[in-house]
Symmetry: D2
Subunit: 317 residues, 4 copies
C-alpha cells in the first residue's frame, strides 16, 4: 500500500473532533444533542403520529448482513408442543410459557455503531489505542451511547424519491450538495444539529429481492470529499441514519478505498452511525403530507463491551 | 390440581379485553395509546432532560435472569489482536474493525414481553390457540408491538422510596391502592392511559449483590386481587414497567399460584409488560425535583416470531 | 401431491426392520455390530496405521452445509490479548488460558444422523410418532447411538477413483451393483455387516471450490431402487458413511422425490447414516497399498435430545 | 506475587519435552503412540466388548462445567410441531425432518484440551508465544490432535474403588505412587506409553447431586510433586483421562497454586488431557471381571482454531 492510498493521507487535511469533549469522551457528536435540541425536536411534532424504523431481526429467510457477517437466528426454547412433550411443566396455577433465544452480531438488524467500531493507524475515536478493542470494547463502545440515547430533531432526506427511483443503483453516489438540493425540493431545512435520515431505498431493494448481496457488493450512498466532511462538521450533525448496510457507498470511486466515511465522520468527527433503518414507510408518508421533519428518539441495546447495538428508532411527526 | 387452584377458577370473574380490538389484534392495550396520548406525553416534558432505562446486557459477571433462563453472552469476533494475528486483514485504505456477537434470550436485559408469551387453558391473548407458539410465534408475538412502539405519558411510582427502603424485601407485596397512595405522596396523578413505571429497587439490589437469585426465589411486587385487575382495566393502563424480573410478586401469597398478573393483566387485558427496567437513577432525580411524570418512548427489538424483545426505554422530563 | 408421488407409495414393497429389535429399539442396524463384528474388525488391521475421517468444524471461511442450514462458528472467549486488556486475570501461580465457544447444528461437520432425524407419514424409525421430535428427541435421538458407538470391520468403496474422476459430477448416481463392481476392481469384499465407506470425492470438490452449494444443489450419490434397498437389508449393512452432505443423490431422478434413501434405509431399515466424512487421504493411501478394508471406530458427541452428533471416525488399516 | 509462588519457580527443575519432536510439533506426547502402541492396544482386547466414555452434552438441567464457563445448550430448529405450524414444508415425496442447534464451549462435555489451552510466562507448549492464542489458536490448537487421534493400550486405575468410596472427597489427592499401588491391587500393569484412565468418581458425584459446583470448588485428583512429573515423563504417558472437570486437584495444597499439572504435564511435557470422562460403567465392569486394560480409541471434534474438542472415547475390552 503506497502512502497515497492510505486513509491517513486522504484525511490529512480533514477536520477532527478528538479532544473536543475531553480526553474521556465516548459519545462524540451526541454531545451536540442538549436540552435545546430535545426541545426543538419536540417542537417539530405536529401530528402526533408515530413510526418505528427497525427492520425485523432473525427472520427465517436470513437477515441481510454486510459481507463477512452472518444472519441473526431465532430458536424456540419453550413452546406449547414442548409442554405437551413433557420437556416443560406448567407453573402452579396452570401458567405455561413460550420462550426463545436469539444469536447474532451486536450490530444485528437496524443498529448503532459504537465510535470505536472502526479505525485506522491503530487509533480509535478520540485517540484511544486500537488495543482497547481486544476481548471487548474498553473504550468507545456502545454502552455510553446507549446510556445517553439519541434524541432530537430529525429530517428525512429521500434521495431515492428525489431521483425518481424506487432505490438508488449499485455504487450510485451523492454528497452533501445533493442532500441540500433534495431538502430544498422537499421544502424542509437541514438545521444545525439535525439528526440526518437519508433514504436510498436500498434496504427495500434487498428485502424485495431486487438487489442481493454477493461478490463485488457495492452499496449506493454518500461518498467522500473534504467538503462533505467539513459540511458535517460545520453542521454539527450528531447522527447519520440510512437505509443501507453501511451508511455510505462501499468504495470511494476515485481511490477504491473502503468505507472512507466511517473514518472521516465516525472515527474523526464522532458522528454516530445508525445503519439499516427501515425508511420506506416513513418516506411514503412524508411524500404524501410533505412533512419531512419530526422528533427522533432512539436508544440501542446496551451491550456490555459491545461494538454496537440493535435499535428500533421512533420518529414522531 | 383441583379446580379451585387454577387460574381459570381464580379469574372467572375478572375482566377481559379479548375481541375488543378485533379478532386479529396483537398489541392489546397499546391500542389505548393514540395521538392524544402522544400529545399528552409531550406536554409532560418540562425540562428536556433525558433518561434511558435499559440495563447492560451480556455483562462479564452474568446478567440477572429469571430462574430457568441463562445469561446473555458477548463474544468478540474481530479485534485489534485478531488483525495482528492474521485472522483479519485491513480494508483497502487501511480501515480495521472490531466486531462482536451476542446470544441470549429474546427477553434479555430490559425487555418487553409479547402478549402471547404466557397463557393458560391452551389459549393466548385474544383467544389465539397455544399451538400458535409452536416453532415461533405466529400470533401475538413481539413484532406488532415493536412495529407500533410504546409512546405516551408516563408516571413513576417509587414504592421503595415511599416505604423508606432502598429496595422492597423478598416477597413484599403492594397493590393499586398503594400505587395511588404513593402517587398522592409524590404529588403526581396516575391519569387514565398512563404508562406505569413502578420502582421496587429490586434490580438495584440484584446488581449490588444485596439480593441473589437462587432456590425459593420470590420477588417483591404487585399482587393479585380482582379489584386490582379491574383498576388496571378501568384506568386503561397500556403498559406496566417495573424494575423486577417479572413485574409482579412471584407467587400469589394466598393460593401459591405463580405469576398470576401475567394471566390477569397480560393474557386477559392485553397490558404490555416491560421487565427489568433500570429506574434507580430516574427515581433519584424525581425525588430531587419532585417531577414524577414525563414522556416515555420505547420500542423493543423486532425479533421475528419472538416472544419478546430487548428494549432501552427513553424517559424525558 | 398425488398418491403415486409419495414415499409411502414408492416404498410400499420395500423391506422394514421395525420391531425387529423390540418396540424400544433406537439404534437399528447397529444391533448387527456384535462382539463378532468387533473381532472381525480388529482382524482386518494389518499395518497398525491410523486415519481420522472428520473434517474441520467452524472454519473461518464457513463450513459446507446442506441448503437450509448455516455454518458452525467459533468464538474466542479468552486469549492472551484478553488477559493483557484486563478482561481475565491469571490464576494463583500464574497460569493463563485460552477458551472458546462453538455454535452450530448438532449435525455440524462430519456427523451421524439419529434414526429419527427424518420421516414420512408422521412416523419415525420403529414406529415412533413424529411428535416425539417436538422440543427435542424423546425417541430415536442420537444419545443411544452415541452410547453404543459404531465399531466393526469397514470397507472403503472409492467410486470416484473407480470412475477415473477426482469427484463424481453433480447428480451423478450409482447403486449397489456399482459398489460390488468397484469392490471387485479394488480386490476387496463387502462382507455382511460391513460398515460401508463410499467415496464420491464431493466433499473434496466443495473444499477445493470446484463445486459450490447454491440454487439447484444436487449431490452425486447412491440412488434408489427396490433392489438396492433389499441388498442393504440382506447384507445387514449397519452404517453408511460417505463424503457427501447427505449420503445419497439429492433427488431421485425418475420421480424427483428428495432424499429417498433417508426414508428407505434410515427410517425403514435403521441404517445409521454418517455424512460428510473426509475420505480423500484414506482413499489415496488405499489406492497406493491396495488395502481397502480395516477397523472402524466412531462415536458421535452424545447430544442430549439431539437429532445427530459430530463425529471424527477413526479407521485403522 | 513473590517469585517463590510462581509456576516458573516451582517447575524450574521439572522436565520438559519442548523441541523433542521438532520446532513445529503440536501433538506432544501423542508422538509416543506409534504403530507399535496401536498393536499392543489391539492385543489387549480379549472379550470384544465396547464401552463409550462420553457424558451427555447440553442436558436440560445444565451440564457440569468448570467455574467460569457456562453449560452447553440445545435448541430445536425444526420438529414435527414446526411443520404443523407451517414454519417448515415437506420435501418432494413427503419427507420431514427434525433439526437442532448446539452452542457451548469447545471443551463441552467429555473433551480433549489442546496443548496450548493453558500456559505461564507468556509461552505455550513447545515454546510458542502466548499471542498465538489471540483470536483463535494458530499454534498448538486441537486440530492436529484431532487429525491424529488417540489410539493405543489403556489402563483404568480406579482410585475411588481402591479407597473404598463411591467418589473421592473434595480436595482429596493422590499421586503416581498411589496409581501404582492401585494398579497392583487391580492386577494390572501400567506399561510405558499406556493411556492412563483414572477414576475418582467425581463426575458421578456431580451427576447424582452428591457434589455441586460453587464457591470454593475444589476437585479431588492427582497432585503435584517433582517425582510425579518425572514419572509421567519416564513412563512416556501420552494421554491422561479422568472423570473430573480438570484432571487434577484444583489447588496444589502446599502453595495454593491452581492447576499445576496443566503446567507441568500439558504445557511442559505435552501430555494430552482428556477431562470429564464417564468411567463409572466401565469401572463397575472391570471390578466384576478383573480386566482393567483394553484398547482405547478417541478423536475429538476437529474445531478450527480450537482450544479443545468434545470427544466420546471408545474403550474395548
Amino acid at each position: 500500500m503506497s502512502d497515497t492510498e492510505t486513509l491517513a493521507h486522504l484525511l490529512a487535511e480533514a477536520p477532527s473532533n478528538w479532544g473536543r469533549w475531553g480526553a474521556d469522551d465516548e459519545i462524540g457528536a451526541l454531545n451536540y444533542l442538549t436540552g435545546a435540541e430535545v426541545k426543538s425536536g419536540l417542537a417539530a411534532v405536529r401530528q402526533h403520529r408515530t413510526f418505528t424504523l427497525g427492520v425485523p431481526v432473525a427472520t427465517p429467510a436470513g437477515d441481510h448482513v454486510f459481507p463477512g457477517r452472518w444472519p441473526a437466528r431465532h430458536y424456540m426454547v419453550a413452546d406449547k408442543a414442548g409442554f405437551e412433550a413433557g420437556h416443560w411443566h406448567p407453573m402452579p396455577g396452570g401458567l405455561e410459557f413460550a420462550d426463545d433465544y436469539v444469536s447474532g452480531f451486536a450490530q444485528a438488524g437496524t443498529h448503532c455503531d459504537a465510535l470505536g467500531h472502526m479505525w485506522f493507524d491503530d487509533t480509535l475515536w478520540n485517540g484511544y489505542p486500537a488495543a482497547s478493542t481486544n476481548g471487548g470494547m474498553t473504550r468507545a463502545g456502545i454502552e455510553p451511547i446507549a446510556a445517553r440515547g439519541v434524541v432530537g430533531r430529525s429530517v428525512l432526506i429521500d434521495m431515492a424519491r428525489f431521483r425518481g427511483k424506487p432505490a438508488l443503483a449499485r455504487a450510485e453516489t451523492f454528497d452533501h450538495r445533493d442532500l441540500l438540493e433534495c431538502a430544498r425540493a422537499q421544502g424542509v431545512e437541514i438545521q444545525p444539529r439535525s439528526i440526518l435520515l437519508v433514504r436510498t431505498g436500498w434496504v427495500g431493494a434487498l428485502r424485495s429481492g431486487a438487489e442481493t448481496i454477493g461478490d463485488g457488493y457495492w452499496e449506493p450512498g454518500l461518498t467522500f470529499s473534504l467538503d462533505l466532511v467539513r459540511w458535517f462538521d460545520e453542521m454539527q450533525i450528531p447522527c447519520l441514519v440510512t437505509d443501507s448496510l453501511a451508511n455510505e457507498t462501499t468504495y470511494e470511486p476515485r481511490t477504491g478505498m473502503m468505507l472512507v466515511l466511517h473514518a472521516a465522520l465516525m472515527r474523526n468527527l464522532g458522528v454516530v452511525f445508525t445503519e439499516m433503518a427501515w425508511l420506506d414507510d416513513l418516506a411514503a408518508d412524508c411524500a404524501a403530507d410533505r412533512q419531512y421533519d419530526g422528533f427522533y428518539c432512539a436508544s440501542p441495546t446496551r451491550v456490555s463491551k459491545g461494538t454496537g447495538g440493535s435499535v428500533n428508532p421512533v420518529f414522531i411527526k
